[in-house]
Amino acid sequence: MYRMRLPPWLVLLMPAFVILLAVVAIPLVLSLYSSFTAFQLTRPETITRWIGTFNYEKAIGDANFWAAFGRTVLLLTVALNLEMLLGLGLALMVAKVTHGQRLLRTIMMFPMMFSPILVGFQFKFIFNDNVGLLNNALQSLGLTDVAIPWLVDGNLAFIAIVTAEVWTSTSVFAILILAGLFAIPQDPVEAARVDGCTPWQTFRYVTLPFLMPFIYIAMAIRSLDVARAYDIVQVMTAGGPARRTELLWTLIGRTGYVDARMGYANAMGYIAILLSIAFTVHFFRKLSSARTSLGMGD
């Protein structure tokens, strides 16, 4: 009798495959199919109307789409770099503390516990031009007499969104970099000091290269998160005023659910997913090359 035997690794990975197939892959195939149709949410029968690559051509020719695309990349660059620098500073400061470090670490993780949608509401409240915390503080301190329209002006709204993103996610960088600081072997650092390096040189040429893999991991995780940023922006400005803070996924969400043009939305979604995959692959590459240069690779 022939009995099929699967290799043990396949058996172990099977549950993960099955679940991901059911919840991620099948819906993705469904939306890939619908991106080639004129599917409109309000008229379910349109899902069978095949229109080829029309939606993709339309997205590529759409100025709003490219504006949102550019803005997402801009947000990604600004937020990630700010978070990296602030997280590095924070981790270095916390690592130096000897007493009460456990408390500081917990405080540091505080923003991570906030639901993105909660962060959105919180900062919407803080940046509110009429009763918001920030304007109230500025006015009480006499720094300005007028209410600064944080969420109404396009550029200021972008700054407000960056602030909210940075506030929530700097701790991701800080924790990973802190983990890296703890893992650094002390010998090279001491050797550098004995050889007469200044503190800056020690940091730049000894500590930082050791931290790079940790920074790239944080970058990889966060670039995925920012590339699919939706909740915070949706709550704070909903892409407004007049599309000034429109990101890819707020645009896609609105096209799909409010305008009900689901086929078109899915086409744009696929282009957006390719963007985030590109970023992730980029950071994973950097990660493995940083690992190999440190001799930590497989």
């Binding site: 396949l10 549950p15 679940i19 059911a22 500073g89 456990r102 409240f125 983990a179 896609i252 689901m262």
Partner: protein, 288 residues
């Protein structure tokens, strides 16, 4: 002499700068959260006052009373939401950990053809945002009749968390020397026993850190929950936050009270496992 004094002065200045910098950073991290907590105890009139009231004149539990009593503005059934959130998050975390342990173990211990391709494939599923999945899932769930059920939400959150748990746990199992399990097998354990008695305890810290991340993700997720939950049956707290908004107004006080309720369990849990968290990330993430 002069050089020494200068040196000492510089050291003091640096210490002071370190302290001030740390204090400032921690305040910026805490303030928005503390503001939310404070507002949950203040009457709405005072929150909205213009000119602002800086020193609270009156603190009360009105918002909490309204929230738990299900009375007053909107009458949001917070306790039901809390229960839904708890059941969905805890169950999905446990299942994601089990699936992640199986997968991570497979990655760490077996030769798998096309390993890195499978690995990248798993991570790529994380690039798909909830908004993109919500509609096709809604259609599928509609066909299967599992919209607005705990089961449906648990399934989604398990899928959301599995790639990351596999990644972290894989790195952790790799830290456990193969010889350890082999020695146990020579001593008469089955592979199954060797896993639970030898390898699992060593990798526990990594599993704890994967668990907290999975829990926080499910606890805080909004985009999918807002589409796939419809009623008291399965609505979670992040979706419940929306109950405090109406077309033109926002009930800030009530929202802040619910926010406090959302943060507390996460805070307690993170504090309990935070020691493992740093260790877990160190080994799991980088050396993997």
């Amino acid at each position: 002499m002069d050089v020494r004094r200068q040196h000492r002065l510089r050291r003091r200045l640096l210490t002071a700068a370190h302290f001030i910098g740390l204090f400032l950073a921690m305040s910026i991290i805490c303030l928005p959260g503390l503001w939310v907590v404070l507002n949950s105890f203040r009457p709405t009139v005072e929150i909205m006052a213009k000119p602002p009231v800086w020193i609270p004149t009156e603190l009360n539990l009105d918002h909490y009373r309204a929230m738990f009593g299900g009375i007053g503005e909107g009458g949001v059934p917070v306790l039901t939401y809390f229960w839904n959130s708890l059941v969905i998050s805890l169950t999905s975390t446990v299942i994601a950990l089990l699936v992640g342990m199986a997968g991570g173990y497979a990655f760490a211990r077996y030769r798998i053809p096309g390993k890195s391709a499978i690995f990248v494939g798993l991570m790529v599923t994380r690039a798909v945002p909830g908004v993109a999945l919500s509609l096709p899932l809604f259609i599928l769930y509609g066909r299967l009749g599992i919209i607005d059920t705990h089961f449906g939400m648990i399934l989604v959150y398990v899928a959301l968390n599995v790639p990351f748990t596999i990644w972290l746990i894989d790195g952790f199992f790799r830290q456990v020397p193969k010889e350890l399990a082999e020695a146990a097998e020579i001593d008469g354990c089955t592979r199954w026993q060797a896993f639970w008695k030898v390898e699992f305890p060593v990798a526990r810290a990594g599993i704890a850190s994967a668990g907290i991340f999975a829990f926080l993700t499910s606890w805080n997720e909004y985009a999918l929950a807002s589409q796939l939950t419809r009623s008291l049956n399965s609505k979670t707290m992040p979706v419940g936050l929306m109950d405090f908004t109406s077309q033109f107004t926002l009930n800030w006080g009530g929202m802040c009270a619910l926010a406090v309720l959302m943060i507390l369990p996460a805070l307690v849990l993170t504090f309990l496992v935070q020691k493992h968290l740093i260790a877990g990330l160190t080994f799991g993430g980088v050396k993997g």
